[in-house]
Symmetry: C2
Subunit: 391 residues, 2 copies
Amino acid sequence: MPQGANKLLLEMFTIFVSAKLGGELFANLALPAVLGEIAAGVLLGPHALSLIAPTDNIQAFAELGAIFVLFTAGLEIHPQDLVRVGQQSLRVALAGVIVPFVLGFAYLRIRGTNLHEAVFVAAAMVATSVGVTAGVLDELRVLHARFSRIILGAAVFDDILGMVLLAVVVGMASGGVRWLHLGITFLEALAFTLFMIFVGPRVVHHMRPGLRRLSTQNAPLALSLALCLMFSWASERIGMAAIIGAFFTGLVLADYAPEWELGPPVRGIHDMLAPFFFFAIGARLDIGLFSGGVLWTACVVTVLAIISKLAGCGLPVLNEGWPTALRVSIGMVPRGEVALIIALIGLQMNVISQSAYAIVIFMTAITTLAAPLALRWVLNSGSLERVGHVG
Amino acid sequence: MPQGANKLLLEMFTIFVSAKLGGELFANLALPAVLGEIAAGVLLGPHALSLIAPTDNIQAFAELGAIFVLFTAGLEIHPQDLVRVGQQSLRVALAGVIVPFVLGFAYLRIRGTNLHEAVFVAAAMVATSVGVTAGVLDELRVLHARFSRIILGAAVFDDILGMVLLAVVVGMASGGVRWLHLGITFLEALAFTLFMIFVGPRVVHHMRPGLRRLSTQNAPLALSLALCLMFSWASERIGMAAIIGAFFTGLVLADYAPEWELGPPVRGIHDMLAPFFFFAIGARLDIGLFSGGVLWTACVVTVLAIISKLAGCGLPVLNEGWPTALRVSIGMVPRGEVALIIALIGLQMNVISQSAYAIVIFMTAITTLAAPLALRWVLNSGSLERVGHVG
């Protein structure tokens, strides 16, 4: 009877069903279902048919959906398996941050863009958003493959590096980088990462006997969900993305997931919430807002954003064979929230123009839409069965 | 990085963990875990420690939590099993509506309350809120027992009758009942109920072969979730409670739940969201707001609300033996949202006083807290194994 609730349910139903229909349609066309869910958001969202403008409540579901996409991904990867590709991931992340930044900065300076604007737009070209990639990898059931682990490990380092870069860029624009503060933030993120990968699983191991003595039904699941919420929050608290904390939580629990039967219930939460995440990504994309002059720059920046990640993330793992290098580098192409946040901060600080902001939006849109397509294509042209095994 | 998201995650974590800790504590004291989750809400909520005032987003999770409590309950009950206790449920609901209304109305009139206020408060005493009861039945794993089915069936009829009563009461207070409109609303609700119980399962049966041809992963789960959202919305749309629509959806799918492996994923969503529902119930309860004069009336109204449901819902099923009658009648005692909505409408129409509104809040609080305790107690004093089987 409360009218608000009624509106929420209708909105949830519309988004859920349209996302699932979009996914089904795309899957039948041999395209990634995740892209279909995003396309449903583009189509029904405020920039096209304008049937649905995601409310604050839907955004909350979307945020939680992203968290469960990465939590699910983490649950399928054992910490040791991530450590085994740690060096590769680090190289991919480092070069994948440096190359886009340098290429983007150089192009914009050559075009005559002022220093601060060039720095901000180049910084926005850096940060990979791994949510969409994780969705595609999950859909194709290759999350446990070696290249997937390299991607997810690199996404962790990429997130830390992106955070540092943002702090430097903001510091430069506002008169001075607070190096001590930045150093502490960096060490916090590093300590958090090392703790989650090396110490976390042991803590859980020691909690196991106690869990059995609890009276709460499905106590292991309750504990897992509590940890996921806590570490997602903690991750954001120290300046990293919430989804990275969720991914870490999955890692920490991966060894105990079979024993605790975490798979099906967490999959249920994932399936309920993930469509809101992908739909919301689509609803945010505005592809038709560009005039002639900006469009050209936007296209060049986007092409550079793609090429630079392909080179920066592919070359460091060329020793793994070119199929892996190609898969890893395409998986690192999507930009998203973090890029938009960097551009938004630049806009709010009055160091970048409205058109530079629009360029970043364009770049996130194209990389978000193109990467799943390319990833699915290179995975289908290889043998999925072959890449599907742990290496 | 967005501050809003961070706050949401911290709030979700705090609510989830405190509810679970409350549940664990109560379970260890041989009290219902559900009551512990409610108690956590009372304690941390705005009327006590005031640590957490559930935001709009949390309310959305709570609303969805209630939907999944009833969806889960529905999944465990086959439509035929509900039909088999249909007559008993109808008798329980009818007497359970008439007795509280007559008793409440008579007492208030004798006390000298004016006609409209007496009618509204009496109407608020009528509507059972089955969410808490369903939680306790689930926790004790007796959802499939005969008395549980009688309760849930009665809750459906109770919801329809409550809706009709509300329309009559509002019509009286605003100058005239729109009987035609009321008749249509009643027939809509009846048609919806009959459709969901008798036709729905057959529709799903015919959709089964098509489901297998879908490319969407976990297509049966996606369909189930879509139906749950749709029927919850539809139910509210025609004036019934969303949770009744969710319960119907569970019923419709109950026969296919094992084949589609709906149990564990839906349980996961349930376990994620239900604590927000119970916590939010607690956060709303304000037990310490009563002055002397009102407190006395509030206590009498509450005692009448309890006794009248015990009598009204117990006597019609006395032929099933007194243990069943006792369990059914206690299960029907909790009042909640609908009672508050009726009182709120009365307040907004200026036909009931602030103190009458407070009396209704008091009554919902005590019945919500007392029923789980009593239910657990009578179930423990009987043999749970014995009542646990389908009769």
